[in-house]
């Protein structure tokens, strides 16, 4: 990985991939990341509306050359149906966090007010705590965390980032036709 050939500065890039929902697939992908020395910032995998197809969103620090190689290397994996780099596209990017924060009755109103400001939701309450669900990008979640920290955060969890391009084009995995949505879309664009 020679920096002398880099075409742009490294930055955080967001990729989405459709993969077959089979045992060991995540292992193959993470093994590739490890072997090629890609440093994963975030990784999320979940099912889609199509049977047997999972969708991954992952974020990696990379320059544009490296981004192309990341795509190409993932594309070589037999279980990867398609891969696309959303970094330069208009896109929706979301994280979801659950934050359990100390909130005894005297503090509760103030915490709820903060929740309101962040357009988050209270999803659980106990005599001493409140659990907050917040969605948004990393900056928003970090803001929520910073605001709640003074009250005392008991625990928190967040999903990896998920992303989707804006606009009408879907990147559905047309598994039945064996065609890659990412490539198919670009083929049409050519």
């Amino acid at each position: 990985m020679s920096s002398s050939t880099a075409q742009s500065e490294a930055k955080l890039r967001t990729f989405v991939a459709y993969v077959e929902d089979k045992p060991g697939v995540l292992n193959r992908i993470s093994s590739l990341f490890r072997r090629r020395n890609y440093n994963i910032v975030s990784l999320n995998v979940g099912r889609t509306h199509e049977d047997g197809v999972s969708r991954m969103t992952f974020q990696i620090e990379a320059d544009s050359d490296m981004a192309l190689r990341i795509e190409a290397n993932l594309y070589k994996l037999v279980n990867v149906l398609s891969i696309a780099d959303l970094t330069e596209l208009p896109r929706v990017v979301r994280d979801l966090a659950l934050i359990k924060v100390k909130a005894t009755p005297p503090d509760r109103a103030e915490v709820l007010q903060l929740v309101e400001i962040f357009r988050a939701r209270a999803v659980d309450v106990s005599p001493t705590t409140l659990t907050v669900e917040v969605t948004g990008d990393q900056a928003k979640i970090q803001g929520m965390v910073d605001s709640l920290r003074p009250f005392g955060i008991v625990e928190m969890v967040q999903t990896g980032t998920v992303a989707m391009s804006r606009g009408p084009e879907g990147r559905a995995a047309r598994v039945a036709h064996g065609a890659s949505p990412g490539f198919a879309a670009d083929e049409a664009a050519e």
Partner: protein, 603 residues
């Protein structure tokens, strides 16, 4: 990158033997038989392997099928044999081992095949599916171990899945950029039965689309660069050999007269005796080749990956050259060297599309300049060196080349002798040099030579190995004896781990740590295996012994006692600029090393 090419819809695998007529009636068959039946249908007639507990049901059934099994002495040998078989035949090589240690012994051979993109299917037994994860006797998670060194892998736990896994494995191993595929089959999958008939229909893998094609625009850019080039150079890599694109390369060169440099694995892909062939590039490439690369204004790289042994220092590599990269694997583009025009796809198909439109560039001064460089700095030729009673490895290889008229299959190990072979055995034919390039696996040559022989029974096969490498897999001499095959083994015996010794001499103050090496008496060793052992200690004996070996009906081991502290020249030290080579000492300045540059006797 994705925008720059389109995917051909779902390439169909070409099964080696399409089943004639209709699909036969399914019948009840144990997995152990399905395995061999599927392999026979996939065109397999020889496998290299070693039995053991978890693969015993399969071995028990093997006898019913027209498949020859070569019993190896160590599973690493099986993997290298399958590798050598694949390189010479262009077909998928198959090796078989049991679970646990049998499987882990394959690992080096699988990694070797991965690095050199060799189509190979490795079949391993696995403990019964109910015991997986229990640390059962001889259990190893071999697909996990081999994950980074396989193109793909399968774990099969049901007899119903054996045939499809093998079909897919063969397809994946041999299509696109080839590579090794591991099929791990549990013992119960071999023992249980199911209704089975070989299904000859094409493999369907929705996520695997190895075929790509460049766009017209990219082809036009490449053609434009070629027509305007003043100092162009063509690279002929392993991809040319694997895509059987030799004739198209010849056509391209006949049309354009662009000079051709080869990578180590590309040797033979473009005939060495062609007037436009420059020779090998890189760390031990000839000086004029590397200088030409550095001075070029256009590199057309065909089926190669700009390995670090080829480029030297990337910062100073061919700085003024535009680069056209014809390459099958998109992940190789811009990996080490930034290219101006990537043409991603099968190099044979791309050359076919380029050829009708290629225009001859005006390059006469460039060709004259290269000829001048060649004349001034010819490293060779030791062939005219008088026989002073000493024996040099280069003599041995040069004489071998002359006596076999360059037609033998030569299988080399790794180290000095490998580089001398690349320099002095001129390969005019593809698939006649078998060598471990990417991984650099010592011990490769002897087993790979056995595999090569099974791929081409009528060929004259010469294994060339050092005294170090041969000892790593010398047990396979018995395999040769048991199989009664004719393979000649030339041991370039200098009493050192020669390449490491050379590096110690150049870069580590001449401290020969752990490189002086004692060897068994190779003549006696051959004799102990029932093979003919010979020895040569001077140049006259080289010819005599090679002649004896060639006329002897059985396998022959020749112990060539060569000069101990000879070095491979020229050499680009690791990370140095490609043009910055350690040159062969001249005669007048070196009493010690009389292999010198003459510059006059190249013709």
């Amino acid at each position: 990158m994705e925008a720059s090419k389109k995917i051909i819809a779902h390439a169909q695998p070409e099964l080696e033997k399409p089943a004639p007529g209709a699909v036969p009636e399914p019948r009840l068959m144990p997995g152990s038989e399905i395995l061999w039946d599927a392999l026979v249908n996939l065109g397999v007639d020889v496998v290299f392997g070693y039995p053991g507990g978890a693969i015993m049901p399969a071995y028990d059934s093997m006898i019913k099928f027209p498949i020859h099994h070569v019993l190896v002495r160590h599973e690493q040998g099986a993997a290298h044999m399958a590798d050598g078989y694949a390189r010479v035949s262009g077909r998928v090589g198959v090796c078989v081992a049991t679970s646990g240690p049998g499987a882990t012994n394959l690992v080096t051979g699988i990694a070797n095949a991965m690095m050199d993109s060799i189509p190979m299917v490795a079949i391993t037994g696995q403990v019964p599916s109910a015991l997986i994860g229990s640390d059962a006797f001889q259990e190893t998670d071999i697909t996990g171990v081999a994950l980074p060194i396989t193109k793909h892998s399968f774990v099969v736990t049901r007899p119903e899945d054996i045939c499809s896994a093998l079909k897919e494995a063969f397809y994946i191993a041999s299509s696109g950029r080839p590579g090794p595929v591991l099929v791990d089959i549990t013992k119960d999958a071999q023992q249980k039965s199911c209704l089975y008939a070989f299904d000859p229909s094409p493999v369907r893998l929705p996520g695997y689309r190895p075929e790509t094609e460049p766009l017209e625009r990219e082809l036009a850019e490449a053609l434009d660069l070629i027509s305007r080039a003043e100092r162009p150079i063509l690279f002929s890599g392993h991809g040319v050999v694997q895509a059987n694109a030799t004739e198209l390369m010849l056509e391209l060169v006949d049309k354009t007269h662009i000079p051709v440099a080869a990578t180590l694995l590309g040797l033979g892909g473009f005939p060495a005796s062609h007037p436009s062939a420059l020779g090998m590039m890189g760390m031990h490439g000839e000086a004029w080749v590397n200088t030409a690369i550095q001075e070029s204004d256009l590199i057309i790289a065909v089926g190669m990956r700009f390995d670090d042994r080829v480029t030297g220092n990337l910062k100073t590599y061919a700085k003024n050259a535009k680069k056209i990269h014809i390459e099958l694997d998109p992940a190789e583009v811009n990996k080490n060297v930034h290219v101006d025009v990537p043409l991603i796809g099968d190099c044979r198909a791309i050359l076919k599309r380029l050829l009708p439109h290629v225009q001859k560039p005006e390059i006469e001064p460039w060709l004259k300049h290269i000829d001048q460089m060649r004349g001034e700095s010819a490293v060779i030729d030791i062939k005219e060196l008088p026989d002073e009673g000493k024996l040099y490895a280069a003599h041995v290889i040069h004489d071998l080349w002359r006596m076999t008229e360059g037609k033998a299959i030569v299988v080399t190990d790794v180290g000095q002798h490998q580089m001398w072979e690349a320099q002095y055995y001129k390969h005019d034919y593809p698939r006649r040099l078998v060598t471990s390039g990417g991984l650099g696996t010592m011990g490769f040559a002897l087993p790979a030579g056995i595999g090569a022989k099974f791929a081409d029974k009528s060929a004259e096969v010469w294994v060339i190995a050092g005294d170090g490498g041969i000892q790593m897999t010398a047990a396979e001499l018995t395999t040769i004896a048991q199989e009664e095959i004719k393979v000649n083994i030339a041991i370039i015996n200098n009493g050192f781990l020669g390449m490491v010794r050379q590096w110690q001499q150049f870069f580590y103050g001449g401290r020969y740590v752990a490189t002086p090496m004692k060897s068994p008496d190779f003549v006696k060793l051959a004799d102990a295996h029932g093979l003919l052992g010979l020895r040569a200690t001077n140049r006259t004996e080289v010819r005599q012994m090679v002649e004896r070996a060639r006329s002897h009906p059985g396998a022959v081991v020749i112990d060539f006692r060569v000069e101990q502290e000879d070095s491979v020249y020229p050499m680009v030290p690791t990370g140095a600029d490609l043009g910055d080579m350690i040159r062969r000492p001249k005669r007048e300045t070196s009493e010690h090393n009389p292999i010198y540059e003459t510059g006059s006797d190249e013709s």
